[in-house]
C-alpha cells in the first residue's frame, strides 16, 4: 500500500466513483466541500467510508467526520493515519 499522495488520490477517486458513478475524473475541486460537488446522502457517505476502510485499512471514527469536508482534507487525514500506523 502506498503513502504517495497522487496514488492515494487516485484510489480515493476510484472508490468514490464506485458509489457515485456519474463523477467524471478531473472535475472535482479538492478545496471545496466534497458533498457540495457530489450528491452523497448519509448512506452513500457511510458506504464510502466502509470502502475506504476495506481498501486502505483505515478506520474513520464518527468523531472525525467533521475533518473530512474536502478532498484535500480527506487525503491529509488518510496520509496522517497511515503514517502513524507505520
Amino acid at each position: 500500500m502506498t503513502n504517495d499522495r497522487p496514488a492515494l488520490a487516485a484510489t480515493v477517486l476510484d472508490i468514490l466513483r464506485s458509489i457515485a458513478p456519474e463523477v467524471e475524473p478531473g472535475t472535482l475541486d479538492p478545496t471545496r466541500p466534497l458533498r457540495h460537488q457530489v450528491d452523497l446522502d448519509s448512506m452513500d457517505w457511510l458506504n464510502f467510508l466502509v470502502a475506504l476502510h476495506e481498501r486502505l485499512g483505515v478506520n474513520i471514527p464518527e468523531a472525525d467526520y467533521a475533518r473530512l469536508v474536502t478532498l484535500d482534507k480527506l487525503l491529509d487525514y488518510l496520509l496522517e493515519r497511515r503514517v502513524s500506523r507505520g
Binding site: 466513483r17 464506485s18 458513478p21 456519474e22 448519509s42 458506504n47 476502510h53 474513520i60 464518527e62
Partner: protein, 406 residues
C-alpha cells in the same frame, strides 16, 4: 390450473417488459420464489410468485411488454394431475438453474440472470443520445460496469455509421411520465392534510453515538434506521395511517411495511418496502436498508418490495430542507417526512439551548384519518425518540405479511 399474473408494481407502473424467465415448464415453484425478471422504467424487478405449484406453460416471451394483470404463465396447483409427463410434486431434477426454493416471506434474491442496469454518467448519456446509441444496453469500463464518456466514444468509433436512434423511449422519460401519472392521480383523488412537529433529537443522537463508538464501521447505524423503527412503533397508536384505501374503503394493514423513498442517481425516485419494520432488531434494519438502497440504485428490486408498502417514509434530511411535505403514493394513506437534522435554538427547562432538532411531517388521506389521529401519531413519534434504548428494545412479533396478491 392457476394463472400467474404480472403483479402490480406500484401506482406508477402500469406495464413491464419480460426480460427473462427463471423457471421452465415442469419446474416446481414455491411461494415467494423469483420466477421471472421484468423490466420497468425504474428497475429490473425480480417477480415473485405467490403460490406453490408446478409450471405448466409460459405464455409471455422475453422481450414482450405487457400490462399489469397479464397472465404470464399457467401453473398446476400442488397435487393437481399434470396432462403432460411432468412431475407434479417433489424434487425436480432437471431444473439445474432453478434457485433454491425458499419459505420465508422475503427470500434471498437467488436469480443468476438478472439484467441489471449499469450506471451511466450524465456526460455519457448525453453523448450517447447525440450518437443514437442506447447506453442502457452497454456494459462500460467504469466501476460496477458503469458506462463512461470514453465507452460511448469507443462504441461510436467502432461503428461504420451511427445506429438509428433507439426506438424504445428514453428510460428517464418513461419513468418521469409514470411518476407524473401517479402523483397527479394522488392529488386528484386523495384529500391530503398536513401536520408537522419538531422532534428533539439529543437523546437519540447520544444513544447512536455511544452505540457506534463500540462497533466496527460496517456495523455503524444511521439515524434513519431509528426513525424508521420509531414510525413503525408509533403506528400502533394510529392504525388509520397504515394500510390502503381501495374500492371506497380503508383497509388497515396488520404489519408495517415501510416504503423507503430512495432517489436514483441521474433522476427519478423509487420507494420499495422494508417488510415488518416494527418486528426487526435495529441492526437487521440497518443491513436491510443498506442493501435496499444499493439494489434500488442498481435497478434490481423484488416485486414484493414494489407492491407491499403500507405507507412511505421520505428522509431528505442529510443535506437539504428543513421539512418535506410529500405526496401520498396511492393506494397508501400516509407519507411521513423527515427533514434536516440541525442544531437550533430550543427551550428546555425554561432556558434557551442549542440542541439537535428535526422536523417530522405527516401527509395523510383525510378519507382514512382525521387530524387528531395524525397528531397522536406525531406526538407518539416524538416521545419514542426521547427514549432510544426502549425504542430499540420495542420489537413486536410480525403479523402475517400482507401482499398485493394479483
Amino acid at each position: 390450473m392457476m394463472d400467474f399474473k404480472l403483479p402490480s408494481l406500484g401506482a406508477d407502473m402500469d406495464e413491464g417488459t419480460l426480460l427473462t424467465w427463471q423457471v421452465k415448464p415442469g419446474d416446481t415453484v414455491k411461494r415467494g420464489q423469483v420466477v421471472a425478471v421484468v423490466d420497468t422504467s425504474k428497475a429490473a424487478v425480480d417477480v415473485e410468485i405467490w403460490q406453490d405449484g408446478v409450471v405448466a406453460e409460459l405464455l409471455v416471451q422475453p422481450g414482450e411488454k405487457v400490462p399489469v394483470g397479464t397472465v404470464l404463465a399457467r401453473l398446476l396447483a400442488p397435487g393437481e394431475e399434470a396432462a403432460a409427463p411432468a412431475p407434479a410434486a417433489g424434487p425436480v431434477t432437471a431444473a439445474a438453474a432453478l434457485p433454491q426454493p425458499v419459505t420465508s416471506p422475503v427470500p434471498e434474491a437467488a436469480s443468476t440472470t438478472v439484467a441489471a442496469r449499469h450506471p451511466v454518467s450524465p456526460a455519457a448519456r448525453r453523448r450517447a443520445k447525440q450518437l443514437g446509441l442506447d447506453p442502457d444496453t452497454m456494459r462500460g469500463s467504469g466501476p460496477q460496469g458503469a458506462v463512461t464518456l470514453a465507452d460511448i466514444e469507443a462504441a461510436a468509433a467502432g461503428r461504420v455509421a451511427p445506429a438509428p436512434a433507439a426506438s424504445a423511449p428514453d428510460r428517464q422519460q418513461v419513468m418521469r411520465q409514470a411518476i407524473a401519472a401517479a402523483m397527479s392521480r394522488s392529488k386528484r383523488e386523495i384529500p391530503h392534510y398536513y401536520l408537522s412537529d419538531t422532534l428533539p433529537m439529543a437523546a437519540a443522537l447520544a444513544w447512536l453515538q455511544q452505540r457506534n463508538e463500540g462497533v466496527a464501521i460496517t456495523e455503524r447505524m444511521l439515524p434513519a434506521v431509528l426513525l424508521l423503527h420509531a414510525v413503525a412503533v408509533a403506528l400502533r397508536r394510529a392504525p388509520q395511517l397504515n394500510g390502503f384505501y381501495r374500492d371506497g374503503a380503508f383497509q388497515p394493514a396488520t404489519a408495517v411495511h415501510a416504503g423507503v423513498a430512495i432517489s436514483l442517481r441521474g433522476g427519478g425516485l423509487v420507494a420499495p418496502a422494508i417488510h415488518d419494520v416494527g418486528a426487526k432488531p435495529l441492526e437487521q434494519l440497518m443491513h436491510e436498508l443498506a442493501d435496499l438502497v444499493r439494489r434500488a440504485r442498481a435497478g434490481s428490486l423484488r416485486s414484493s418490495e414494489m407492491s407491499d408498502p403500507t405507507l412511505t417514509v421520505t428522509n431528505l434530511g442529510d443535506q437539504s430542507v428543513e421539512a418535506v411535505f410529500g405526496v401520498i403514493y396511492p393506494p397508501q394513506v400516509a407519507l411521513v417526512g423527515f427533514g434536516r437534522l440541525a442544531v437550533r435554538p430550543w427551550v428546555q427547562d425554561g432556558k434557551v439551548r442549542a440542541l439537535p432538532l428535526l422536523t417530522a411531517t405527516l401527509a395523510a388521506d383525510h378519507r382514512a384519518s382525521d387530524g387528531h389521529q395524525g397528531a397522536l401519531f406525531l406526538a407518539e413519534l416524538r416521545e419514542l425518540l426521547q427514549q432510544p434504548q426502549a425504542l430499540a428494545d420495542n420489537i413486536a412479533p410480525a403479523a402475517t405479511p400482507e401482499g398485493n396478491n394479483p
